[in-house]
Symmetry: D2
Subunit: 387 residues, 4 copies
């Protein structure tokens, strides 16, 4: 059962960059941080627009003197306070992630950062260097990795339940960009289809990286070569809205990845199929409390969050009994919970406790390489390209 | 999209009775209260055991001077403080609900109370009287009524989507009491199977009332007569663990209700089927973001939380886009969100805003009548008995 | 794997009563009889209307001289032929089942008969006597008993997989009579809602008996007492279109049965849940190749037709590998296959081979008692009534 | 509703090549041919082994004088008989399809042939020529094209329900070759993994062609370029057991195809997702009576075989009402039913009636090109290759 204690009776002081009124993922981060009561949002540069920044801060209980319009300024000011933030959540459009992260890392403040991590591999590499030299924590919110049944799947693969990995099937199908939403005032659509703010990848960066990261998280393997076909189906769109990729793994495994934002009828269809020499695992984000396990030659079993068959890797995150569905926000909160464990330890000068897992700056770099390699492969006629 | 503002920049000061270490539903209430950031837990009588009360308070960020071991004392002390709690959540075993509620209502403090509301109809009737005379708010946490797709179903029935109601099918199937869990140290099982603490109903009170309440909530109708068979399958258990009931409605509709805690293979299988002259609706708690709608003579449609076809009655509660599952805790939080709307209004001397809906003390009385009538029917050989 | 041999190289000569143009179930019987190539339809009284009888016979490859308009005449004529039919399928409306069956039994011809078996208990009792004294085979087409996964479930209950039976949940939900189809020229609706042709039960006879029979088939238990509420929702309809029943078993088990032909959104929703002290089984006719098995305290398993976990009781009927769905017609054919085994044996003066199972005339009598008792219970105000 | 008449009161005289004891697909063809009573199996070369041929013939009611051990001989003898077969079903391993087909076409006998059609493109091209010059019918049993809901999907795409095609996702996942079944006496596995008998493709020929054909059947489009990765995961196996392919269509659509016989936990997982500018369609073979249709911006609908929303293209094949599942054998029988319509017409010198659809020799050639191109692409390092 998920523990809710916060050592020393003191919540972690959290700041936020981005996430003002009209944004989506910022609100998710705030709920996630609150759910288990280990964080306290005390400062923010929620918007670069002064009015929106102020209004957003007020709405979120941030006092006016700790509401900023510049994250540079915020990093400095907070670092100077005795009660300054211990960690910042960066939830801006992608192109600001790197510079914001640098500002806080340089100010000695831990970072929680949304994905994709940066807009280029070189930016990502610099960030890896900086995180290493800073000694600060960097948590990348590939939130789906914190679903209990994903942890269960990872543990089962690790423990040999499927034998040797053969086939990876990763999908992320949506339909919200099937028409040109970016021209109808949908803010989320605008920046996600704008190369200036999203980077070189559209669907591949926004959702493809999630699928890629999740497959790697569960299997423990990364492909070393891929062949990608990026398409743009909506006329005039500047980035890809459909992605299909073949992947080769050094172990001999083979994979396919499909990410689409134009697959009509799909809401948030992230799904994973992992097949090995002795068993198979299947999971779908829209029913996250269920994990199908097929040991070869036996009946398929349905492993449920909180139910029989679930092990401790998943059980750490269970808040309510089996059959009481925990969803997207809980999964996101689980990642904040992992972050909290690491941050509490860091507060006391200790390293992150064993068993605590979160996507790292290196995972972020892997994601950027995946995007860059896919874009390159596709531009060259969808040829096999080394990662 | 769910609004998260709290008027005046000030969260509602919340107290809690019950919910100390080892309890289940208290933690759920706390998460629910935190999720949308409108409540602040500042006082509690989390346990009558001093050590456990203190430890539980500390864990939950309640300062020692506002941690009590008696709810009587707590009601008095908090009422006397300028910064005293505005509302209390009562999450004890059932037998304490009424007296705790009275203590706070009498102290001028609003009440959020877990279900079933009391352990007898007469207790419930007294509470109805007291709530009415006190002028205070009383919110009963029949949490399932706040799932967005349940709001959607209710709105559709109200708006004529199924025509005239004919058949109601309500189920709540679990299996956690299939063996004698109450003798293996499972605290939840202990008090739920103890008539002293649970009242005259076992499964019927614990989960049957949820199914009954939910059916009434969606259809807008209550049966006027029922025929109940309460069974106890686990030897030596003192309360029912399986319930099957036939129901007659004044409108001519007919219903069936099945609640079981021994139906092996079921985790938290609350489900509703509502059939009318022109359409049908089906919903299952384990996949709460989906609502099936069948207009007679047309294809079945799947209405999703956040998706096309969802109306404003449900849309008020949506935090994240369609396909990002919201679950049990979000549903529970929706009820706290309704409570918050009512409490904010009350703070300003206004009545509860139109559109805000929560189960009331009268609903609690209906639930107690349902339990009492079912027990009576069953004791008399499962004969038809007026409600 | 299902064997398709027919001893002696000779198919069983089959006759049919009823099933002319415009009928439904007759065509199903014919397909079922053909599927495994063990029967040959050579004679029929497909209609009492001479033109329709002739046309229907021609369509089905029955030679004109063996097409009759009277089953009395047919029984005599066929009994007199050296190449006369060995067995007759009776697929008329219910009110003709008994007299037709008698005619053929008395003529020394085996009988396959549709359900419900008769229109009264006394008729059924007479038929039981006659079958016994005649020494002929009588196969009642409760076709759902021959789905492989139903055989699997029965075997598992028999072998102790669920422990001691506690709760039976049987449902059969349709919606095709949600409006007054009997007045729009739907022949199937006409006779099924006509007490002269259907007997005293509407939905209870047409589909309720299937659910009742199936529950008994799988559990091996019959209730000894029931409390039934029969309703008619469509104005002016002469028989029940919705049925809800509570049942008590001598073993202490309890049951519920719901049958409805007005549950909008349901096509042919026959479903069974069987819960015991150690496990549970769930099956739904619309996905007949799947059987859910939950051993208490372990993960749920999905047993599939043809897949791992399926035993020989089901395996006898498998025609195509797992994942190649076999459906309603195959299930029906399985029953004809059982009949064929019995008939081949009878041809050689042997008794029915061990392992061959089909619903008997006694099962038909049980069904008639179920209908009669339910009607009686309901007429008396839905009181508990002994079976 | 499916008609069962056979003009002239005379069934079509059918012969069979292959399908003796121990075979799989031959029995399926026989059941399919019998289901609607339009064919009569009167001759066969069921095996080249004399004993097995004789025993198999006897079992299937074929008289000894029309049981052959050579299809060459059979073609001659049957062509010479006044009551000779009108059509032959060829159900041998792949390498014999072409020469058997030629023998019968040259003898003036129509052909029904299993897929993949041949073992090489050149063989297929020859066959196309021969069919054209012979004027005989050639029906390729891509049986999945005859599922009613597949016909429904095809009609909907044709009628514009999804707008312009964008993305095709075709999958066919099985697991029966996850271990080396070909060395454990499984006859089906032996020849399917033997290039001498299967041709150059393993999984790609056995199941990949089905997925490819089905996607083409529903969308009405064939890709003009593909990039294929064929893998063999089971050590020592001589053909591919996992296939992943990217496809480009001239229209701009993009596709992915995955076929695997080592995806543990999958039985016969043929599935199709078709996404266009205005809607999406999804179908899965294991639940063939259901078709999901998502018009963009509206709720998803479930179209069912026999239910509301089904049009005449599917309705032609419905034997039993909605909710009574029809499965694999019925789907196969539908194709025989189409063949029968064409054969009855041919008997009278007429062309195939409008609306009758079956996979043709040209479709078979397309399938062979697909296999050959995929094999070539894969051998060359999985490069894009024109079809």
């Amino acid at each position: 059962m998920a523990s809710q204690e916060h050592p020393g009776g003191r919540r972690i002081r959290l700041g936020m960059v981005g996430g003002g009124q009209g944004a989506f993922i910022g609100a998710v981060h705030r709920i996630a941080s609150r759910l288990d009561d280990r964080f306290e949002l005390v400062a923010g540069a929620l918007s670069s627009d002064p009015d929106r920044a102020a209004a957003s801060a007020a709405e979120n209980g941030i006092s006016a003197d700790r509401s900023y319009t510049s994250y540079i300024e915020m990093a400095k000011a907070e670092a100077a306070r005795a009660d300054g933030i211990e960690v910042v959540s960066i939830v801006t459009p992608n192109h600001l992630h790197a510079s914001a992260a640098k500002a806080f890392l340089n100010a000695g403040i831990h970072v929680i950062c949304d994905k994709p991590m940066t807009v280029s591999v070189s930016e990502a590499e610099e960030l890896v260097e900086l995180v290493r030299s800073s000694g600060k924590l960097f948590i990348l919110t590939h939130n789906y990795t914190a679903y209990p049944m994903i942890r269960q799947a990872r543990a089962m693969v690790r423990d040999g339940a499927i034998g040797q990995l053969r086939v990876v099937k990763a999908e992320y199908a949506q339909d919200w960009l099937a028409e040109k939403a970016e021209e109808t005032g949908v803010k989320q659509a605008e920046w996600r289809t704008d190369p200036e703010r999203s980077g070189a990848g559209g669907a591949i960066g926004d959702i493809g990286t999630h699928a890629y990261n999740l497959a790697a998280f569960v299997t423990g393997e990364l492909p070393n070569e891929l062949c990608a076909e990026l398409s743009t189906f909506v006329e005039g769109r500047r980035l890809d809205d459909n992605v299909q990729i073949l992947m080769r793994y050094e172990s001999g495994a083979r994979g396919m990845l499909w990410a689409s934002q134009v697959a009509v009828g799909n809401e948030n269809g992230l799904a994973l199929g992992i097949y090995g020499s002795r068993g198979g695992l299947e999971w779908s984000q829209e029913h996250p409390n269920h994990l199908w396990y097929a040991p070869f030659g036996e009946e398929k079993r349905l492993i449920t969050r909180g139910g029989a068959g679930m092990g401790e890797d998943a059980g750490r995150f269970v808040r309510v009994p089996a059959g009481h569905p925990e969803g997207y926000l809980e999964g996101f909160a689980n990642l904040y919970s992992e972050a909290a464990q690491a941050l509490f330890a860091a507060r006391e000068g200790k390293s992150t406790p064993g068993g605590v897992i979160y996507p790292t700056v290196e995972d972020g770099l892997d994601g950027m390489k995946f995007i860059a390699t896919s874009v390159e492969s596709s531009k060259n006629g969808s040829v096999w390209t080394k990662l």
